[in-house]
Symmetry: C2
Subunit: 648 residues, 2 copies
Amino acid sequence: MNKTIANPLPVSAVRVTDPFFAPRINVVRGQMLPYQWDALNDRLPGAEPSHSVENFRIAAGLSRGAHHGMVFQDSDLYKWLEAVAYVLAIEPDNALRAHADEAIGIMERAQRQDGYLNTYYQLNGIDRRWTNLQDNHELYCAGHLFEAAVAYYLATQTDKLLRIAVRYADLIDSVFGVDEGKMRGYPGHEVIEMGLVQLYRVTGEARYLKLAKYFIDQRGQSPLYFEEEAKKDNNRKFYWDKTYMRYQYYQAGKPVREQTVAEGHAVRAMYLYAGMADVAMETGDDELLSVCEALFTDIADRQMYITGAIGATEVGESFTYGYDLPNDTVYAETCAQIGLCFFAQRMLRHSADRRYADVLERALYNGVLSGMSLDGTRFFYVNPLEVTPIACEQDDLRRHVKPERQQWYTCSCCPPNLARIVCSAASYAYAAKGDTLYVHLYLGGELKARLDGLDVEMKIESGYPWKGEVRVRAMTAGRYALALRVPGWCRGWSVSINGERADAELDKGYIYLRCDWAAGDEVLLSLEMPVTLVRANPAIREDIGKLAVTRGPLVYCLEEADNGADLHQIALSHDTQFEVRHQPDLLNGVYTLHCSGVRLQSPGFENNALYAPADQALSTTPVPLTWIPYYAWANRGIGEMTVWVKEL
Amino acid sequence: MNKTIANPLPVSAVRVTDPFFAPRINVVRGQMLPYQWDALNDRLPGAEPSHSVENFRIAAGLSRGAHHGMVFQDSDLYKWLEAVAYVLAIEPDNALRAHADEAIGIMERAQRQDGYLNTYYQLNGIDRRWTNLQDNHELYCAGHLFEAAVAYYLATQTDKLLRIAVRYADLIDSVFGVDEGKMRGYPGHEVIEMGLVQLYRVTGEARYLKLAKYFIDQRGQSPLYFEEEAKKDNNRKFYWDKTYMRYQYYQAGKPVREQTVAEGHAVRAMYLYAGMADVAMETGDDELLSVCEALFTDIADRQMYITGAIGATEVGESFTYGYDLPNDTVYAETCAQIGLCFFAQRMLRHSADRRYADVLERALYNGVLSGMSLDGTRFFYVNPLEVTPIACEQDDLRRHVKPERQQWYTCSCCPPNLARIVCSAASYAYAAKGDTLYVHLYLGGELKARLDGLDVEMKIESGYPWKGEVRVRAMTAGRYALALRVPGWCRGWSVSINGERADAELDKGYIYLRCDWAAGDEVLLSLEMPVTLVRANPAIREDIGKLAVTRGPLVYCLEEADNGADLHQIALSHDTQFEVRHQPDLLNGVYTLHCSGVRLQSPGFENNALYAPADQALSTTPVPLTWIPYYAWANRGIGEMTVWVKEL
């Protein structure tokens, strides 16, 4: 355990009692993971068959047939396994455990003698392996295997999957690197960097950290590996060459230390940056860390939607350029937001600065959770901020935007990714370093942490994200510190210990309470959580003259179901007053917001003219408006939705 | 000559003296057509080689080599020839005439014995002809040949090109039709319908009209010809199948009489609808005419930009759906606007209703003329209403939008199309029917028309589009009628004859003056032409809460050159007062508009935050604004441009 950085609490150290997250974890355990197991086994009626388990069965000699699905189909099963590991870390689940062990048994049989494990190449010709790192996701699948293996080992203390991972990692380490005779390749889709660091942390094997560092530092070096690889492979066609991004689609057009602006495929970028942060922290590489900081700032200050979503364009599922944040043609892949959480969590390990946690919270409670239906069986790939259903159908530039969540996808990266982040939310909420327990997110639970050698127990109760009161009860006596984040959105707060107001100052957005605690001491943090209307930076063309509605960590939206169609005609004054209503029976229990707005009505269009002189002032009709949390949209049928509305 | 419909005056009947159009015709004659001749002969340094003439030379046995360029490369030369014909109809030009005759001579040698003439198939394998009507543009090229041949015959009274056209038309007539043994095909890209009707009008050969009617009525009949054709051709891949449009990309998914909403590729649609109108009028087919009326209404009332541009999406260069008119991702191909002029001109022949002429004028003076640089050597394919140069470069969804006109294109349909419409503008301005001369557009000139057997001469002087005074002088004594359009944008007008105010009522937007004229009688039409702020129908999402600035027939825009960057921050009140300035030295002479607007400035972003609470009211800073005519944008370097601005 690296003592110079804050370590997230393991999932097993927290019993989540949070009234918002606990039911979601239950949905993942009770519905989503069994449902996804059926999907991975091609048992979902009407859904695209995954073939993911079957590919492994064929590779293991347990079944016959050809590989089907994406070239990275293996990773769906790995991500599912990782999510199951988090569930098992929380509490036993015999059915999921049995499914997972069955899958791992198949993987063990499928793994080749030399450690290689990738069903696509095993079933399509092993001699072609390592010939298309650019697009064929071998190292990506390996990375997800490593992450799953570490999680499963930590959850179950069984090492069958870990041994599979280690064998494969050793093979990869023998193949790639700068040493004579090794290939100087690196993955087209990053994630192996994070996976190798995880493997290093659990096994203590320094080669894995070194290999992760190699993959990062070799990336984008001249001559470009992907260019050389394509030449060798019959001058293979390079799709992204046609686009502005070219090799930056893969973040591989120049050395990563020269990359200070987030570019290319957003999920790949997040996985790379998170891996860079991991390697930088583990190796004490301040230069690399400052690159991570610059990239984080570029995203948070110039390329992030108010929902924490990233990836402005469908072309390459990519970033575009600063302040280009269209709401309707947006990509905002669920996995990209999840990747942003990975990146933010790692930056928080390095420095308890709330700007990282603010982004983490914004993404998690909005642009990540919007990716799943309330019942956990339908998923969004794209998370738009403005939807007109007819456009999704009839305008091919917006066909990637769906007005309703889908059962499953041919490329089903997002559903298992959601499962793993929801079940491991505790690791994003809490971290320990020295004598300090960091509370980044107010996820209610009972936790155990080792603080400067002392085993400490604590209870946290919160009505988050609906209420701003958080109670932290120290269950263990002793001297240690609590670091409580005051979110960036909060502009009035107070903290008391055992009912007595404590004087506390913010250090990078955190309150530090370092005390001799008695068992039962209670800290009450009160965060004011009024409805807040928000404007976007005036450099954002799409949002100029518009307002968004937020309350606490949540972004709200208007849906057609509550407010009728033609939401683009709605306008609001910046000093609008809101009523907050708790609606326990709506959308699994939400707080809705209510206000008066207007509909813009241009006079002069009585005869359906397309254009008419603006002789008269715009007229407006008052309308009552109902706002729901953005994450809960599209759970009541197909209709329009918008986050931003015009400012009156 | 069909007496039941109004006949446009031939180009040769009008000597254009118009201060706005005459210089443009001179640019076309003096710069554009010689420049395009160089382009078609691959003599433009730095531009894509066209190979258009060379393809004909090879087919004629005058040169050796392979076909290069688009499958419809022949049509570029045909359109150029047609434009040259209009120039020659206006006045002799020995150099252009020599080039044209040279090209026609090559075509004559290239034409096969059986009449076939298409360099793509002649050079790539004649046995494959007629096997891919869907995408390979054979009948499209033929259609442009017919149009060029008719224009050249009318201009020069030489029939070499007309005979080439007739031979080819006879071949096509022998191949296609419903008779036993004939192919039931029709073109993937329409235009032959218009071309055949032209050929019928000049030759009197009824088979050509019948064939045009066949192509229209067979289109979209079940079983779908293109589907059958693709099956026969090794199940050829059908690109548009992936899109919402499918066969409607070609307007070929259902019979044309069932098509009342404009769909698919906008240029194809316009050419089809214009051809339908031609056939409907020539055959007295009221049902088909009512389909044309419905289609025209759908475009004019639901799918047209304020600049007269059409085609909302780059995907398929197509229409999307009603009121979907994004300003920045728009397609708005120059050829589509030209096609809309064709369609509107034909509807005007059927009925002198100003709504047709309003659309014609709107398109011609705005979205068509914007397609060419002021010097006639640079061209836009896409005519956006809002441009952010960085988006054109870095957002692949907007890469089709260019911030500056290009020299030439691989697919160079637009440049010669511009040449032909500019030079034939007189045919759009004037028409004759019975004893009436229709003046649809106020194009100054001296004209001759035969009205009920009387040869009439007339002089028209106008300062259009800058000034609203139009003088029409009757040079021939006699009883006949003048029909003068009062444009839809005009809300105050008066008319006098020889200085005496005439009482006149509008009939579908036209003033009819039926008198016994004396030679020298002068009609003065005064059209009030104030600056008018315009709103879009509130169903248009992209324009809600915005204003556009117009004056007379012209739409104005803001350019960065005059108003700085970040034009999205500009806002205007609907009762803004404007100053109109004549600037003879700016942009070849324009009237600019000047007013006070504001820049929106959101407080709270001092530290570059992406989002901030809207505690304070939006602040605004007054700024002086300079507006230029939309057609003249992008003649002063690369910068932002917008037509619509926020309404305060």
